[in-house]
């Protein structure tokens, strides 16, 4: 019996500084954003994930619980964990945390590079404007 290919292939970067469970959550969020995971798709079982990636099963449990908490996924007893029907909107709001963290990190680096608060804000504004111009 050939096994069905899993809907998502997880990757783990142990040195990235991002907690492993967080990495899994973000990868699911990204997949939903890009449409690779759709409502009703089944997430790989904990056992399958552990076969794909060398990762603690508790971490997978925790990631799935977090996805359920965020409303992105739901567990069906005896069947597994599935993406909820309308995950798109929720995926978007869930990345705010990620964005905030990236911004904090950028801010720290900029300050370490010697930029003052004013210079920080100026740079950010400039980039936003340029980006805006590119989009329109």
């Amino acid at each position: 019996m050939t096994e069905k290919q899993p809907n998502i292939q997880f990757r783990l970067d142990p040195r990235s500084g991002v907690a492993p469970y967080r990495q899994l959550v973000e990868q699911v969020q990204r997949a939903v954003e890009l449409g690779r995971l759709r409502g009703g798709d089944q997430l790989p079982s904990v056992r399958e994930v552990v076969t794909q990636v060398t990762i603690n099963p508790n971490t997978v449990h925790r990631a799935y619980r977090e996805l359920e908490h965020l409303g992105l996924a739901e567990g069906r007893t005896g069947l597994g964990t599935f993406i909820t029907e309308h995950p798109g909107a929720l995926a978007a709001s869930a990345t705010h945390e990620e964005l905030a963290r990236d911004l904090r990190r950028w801010t720290r680096r900029a300050r370490a590079a010697g930029l003052s608060d004013e210079e920080l804000l100026t740079m950010a504004q400039r980039i936003i404007n340029r980006d805006q111009m590119v989009r329109t």
Partner: protein, 305 residues
């Protein structure tokens, strides 16, 4: 109240004049994959061998799965799967002979499982163990300890000296086992990457003492990097213990353990990576050990005597 998988109280071990382990007090909850980290000679193997019942403590007590590990206890030993750092091999034995020994000495031995493990790795039952590669030998040794279906695995540097593929295979086999049987694992390792990916509880040993013992989650939450300009360094906030410090011409950065929510007070606060935390503890020079997190919390909150 769940029984801890490993509970020690002021555990110590001395060889001649050297203390291999001192003042070791731990209470590790079940269901975790525990990373035991520390430099060579820090006492990791000593602790693990005492947990496996091979060495007797000089002082203090040690309980594993709720039972005394320093008394002869074959029932307890049956619930533990142990893999020694030196990976002893019975010279000239074939894999099936080793398994036969396992079956003869363990009532809970699952021979089908043992055969399945080695089969998946392409090892024949009729291979002689000392002719296998070191990666395969480690796998066979792990299969030996898994086949008796233990509640707790104690592994002393199981992936050491293995090539990257072999170590991936070994750790993945281990994680599958944890996923299927909810086995608790205590493994000692030098590979900090392992700690982040497969472990969820961290114990750091340095110079024969425990300097940190906590869930990885709380380690992340309770440690912060505090940075400030080196020319105008503010005072440290309350409830902060500095573990390590880095200075450059422009900046001072402390890695600190905190118990209270931090008030910025002129410091730039950020989250350290797990590697940074571990390395800071390992470099931290102290005369006395730093007490484990929960006790320190109590002290800082004024709760302990």
């Amino acid at each position: 109240m769940t029984t801890p998988v490993l509970e020690t109280h002021q555990l110590a071990k001395r060889f001649a004049r050297t203390w291999a382990l001192r003042d070791c007090t731990l209470s590790i909850p079940p269901g975790r994959v525990v990373a035991l980290v520390g430099p060579n000679g820090a006492g990791k193997s000593t602790l693990l061998r005492m947990a496996a019942g091979l060495w007797r403590p000089t002082q203090g007590t040690i309980e594993v799965l709720g039972e005394r590990a320093d008394r002869e206890n074959s029932a307890l030993v049956g619930r533990i799967g142990y893999l020694d750092q030196e990976r002893p091999v019975y010279q000239g034995f074939r894999v099936d002979e080793l398994f036969r020994f396992g079956r003869a000495t363990n009532p809970t031995w699952d021979m089908d499982a043992a055969r399945a493990y080695v089969d998946q790795l392409g090892i024949s039952l009729r291979d002689r163990v000392n002719n296998l590669s070191s990666g395969q030998q480690a796998q066979v040794a792990l299969a030996m300890s898994l086949a008796k279906r233990p509640e707790l695995l104690i592994l002393d540097e199981p992936a050491a000296a293995l090539d990257p593929v072999a170590r991936e295979d070994l750790l993945r086999l281990l994680m599958r086992e944890v996923a299927e049987r909810r086995t608790s694992v205590i493994l000692s390792t030098h590979a900090l990457g392992d700690v982040a990916s497969i472990c969820d509880y961290l114990v750091i040993l340095s110079r024969s003492r425990v300097v940190l013992a906590d869930d990885l989650e709380f380690v992340g939450q309770s440690h912060r990097l505090l940075s400030a300009s080196s020319t105008a360094t503010p005072t440290l906030p309350d409830g902060v213990t500095v573990i390590g410090t880095r200075t450059s011409s422009r900046e001072v950065t402390h890695l600190a353990r905190t118990t209270l929510p931090l008030v910025d007070d002129g410091w730039q606060v950020s989250e350290p990576t797990l590697d940074e935390v571990i390395l800071a503890y390992l470099r931290h020079e102290t005369d006395h050990g730093v007490t484990p997190t929960h006790e320190l919390d109590q002290v800082l909150r004024g709760e302990a005597s």
